[in-house]
Subunit: 346 residues, 2 copies
């Protein structure tokens, strides 16, 4: 076993030790932590690991190359399984992460997440399990996808007698094309809507708008990084089992929503100029993720495994000074779709 010792970000209080594993363990849950197979922690881990397998298989089949896997644990419990396919036939870089994290969260973050009042200053122990993925294909006509489904729990602060335990679900799936094909957008959004509708017809309209409001690059005149999809957070207003079923169906919708679009465009012809536009849009992706994305900025501050956190960044990106698309061009149309979110479904 390789042992990698790394210093955590200075804002955290201890030096964390990551232990690389030769292969993925049966469970990333803390041993003896009292989480039986019927607990939501265990069920959610099982769900995201099955989703990781299913999605990676579909992508490998399309690409012809295999993901490489890195598994790691931390002595305090928790760990992750990162799978990366880099320099593939179809994908420039595709990553699918599963992680289970035990940590301490600042009380303001807890209050922000739960909406609770209070002025407590103790760190709140939390548990988070999630799957997150970004896949960047080579071809500028083939879109990038991102998805993330997560389950969060907080314990009582250490030393407190009996504080309420909170839990919530969050997630989303969104598409970032460089060039916009309305029929592709309709297929993607339609597939997500069908999965939502199985649970609540109010979900898709609400979560579509939430995505449009979330993936905003404020410093770029509120340009979105792509054409959205669905996004939700802090969900705890239904039984856990119902929300688990919803997250499960949303994760299962990734392959049918996305893979056909890449299959369709992976061999499209393109010009050098179109490749540059794609690279510039990748630059915007980097800007959104490093400056605004909650998962990324949370990870950077809390000192998670950095290669897994930044796996979402594209292999290459470009910042060309004052690049403005020509009026009436396909690039201008894409930019318009990023600036003014559209309704893709009739």
């Amino acid at each position: 076993k390789k042992v990698t010792v790394r210093a955590a970000a200075p804002s955290t209080r201890t030096i964390e030790e990551e232990v690389a594993l030769d292969e993925a363990p049966l469970t990333l849950l803390r041993e003896g932590g009292g989480d039986d197979a019927g607990s939501m922690r265990a069920k959610f881990e099982k769900m995201i690991r099955a989703a990781q397998n299913e999605i990676c298989s579909a992508v490998e089949e399309l690409d012809g190359q295999k993901f490489q896997e890195d598994a790691w644990t931390r002595p305090g419990g928790g760990g992750g399984i990162s799978r990366v396919l880099q320099g593939g036939n179809v994908f420039e870089k595709a990553g699918v992460n599963v992680s289970v994290v035990y940590g301490q969260m600042p009380p303001e973050a807890y209050r922000a997440a739960t909406g609770e009042q209070g002025s407590g200053k103790e760190m709140i122990p939390f548990f988070a399990a999630g799957i997150s993925s970004v896949m960047h294909p080579h071809n500028p006509m083939a879109p990038t996808v991102h998805f993330n489904y997560r389950y969060f729990e907080t314990d009582a602060p250490e030393g407190a007698e009996a504080a309420p335990r909170a839990w919530w679900f969050g997630g989303g799936t969104d598409l970032t094309p460089s060039y916009v094909f309305p029929e592709d957008a309709a297929h993607f959004h339609g597939t997500l809507k069908d999965a939502c509708d199985k649970h609540d017809e109010a979900f898709y309209p609400r979560f579509k708008e939430w995505a449009d409001d979330y993936f905003i690059i404020k410093h770029r005149m509120n340009e979105r990084r792509g054409i959205g999809g669905v996004f939700f957070d802090d969900m705890n207003d239904r039984p856990q089992e119902e929300l688990l079923a919803f997250a499960t169906d949303m994760a299962a919708a990734v392959v049918p929503a996305y893979v056909p679009l890449v299959a369709k465009h992976k061999d499209d012809e393109f010009t050098e100029q179109q490749r540059e536009w794609q690279q510039m849009r990748r630059g915007r992706y980097v800007e959104f993720n490093l400056v605004y994305d909650r998962g990324t900025t949370f990870g950077l501050r809390t000192g998670g495994r950095i290669e897994s956190i930044l796996m979402s960044l594209p292999l290459t990106a470009r910042w060309q000074y004052d690049m403005q698309p020509e009026e009436g061009s396909r690039e201008a149309d894409a930019l318009d779709a990023f600036r003014n979110p559209r309704t893709w479904l009739a």
Copy 2:
């Protein structure tokens, strides 16, 4: 005259209008603002504009291509002159910005900058003038340079009777090579030290350490983005004229400190693998600037002219999953220098 209307970031309270100018105006100071030629505002603007001319001339002479210039003002006063050389013979992207900004700063930012106590909630009017520049050469053996010299003033809050007016100087010059040449590092640091020593022999050691502490990418195990140089901020403990003279000499040291290094390495041979390492280091540059750099993050939050703020980003960058240099390689040596700042001068 072209008129570009842009929406400011939502966090600002008004929609700012930028007006592109056909040519750079004689002064960017507010007309009728009562700043005569003897004011520090006027003297500092004159200094940074002369420095912009001098540095751009030296770079054009080396490169063989010319900078393109964009000048702009804002109706409320202030503006900037951005010069960019992109796709040159020697430089992939080089930008030299001069800007004069009148704005409103949150009281916490004011207290952080001045060290003052207080609990006032009024926005504080400020004035900031500065030159900032980043130059990225093509050749992986030729280093990137960054420098920035700025002068800051705050007025009494609107409506306040007579609050103290504060002012300070800040700045620095630092080098980011992909490969480390100790003799180049010694030349660069030595030139900066000579300029510092003319003013105070305590400056170089203090500001060299400050740079080592500032250019830290916390989430990368405290790796620095390069091999440093000098950095200082909040300086107001000497007469303004002395600090102006110091900033003037530091800006004048950029050309002798940096240009010979690019001249020396611009035609060095390199491999594809060395180019990839350079591109990966450019990725680190992007990470530092978007996540930590004060000027950039301040600019993103306050809604400045985005193309000028992000001119510092490289033309292209790369994020390869888990790229680890081989033990004993030149890349490993560079990484060691970034992780453990060295003393370059005997």
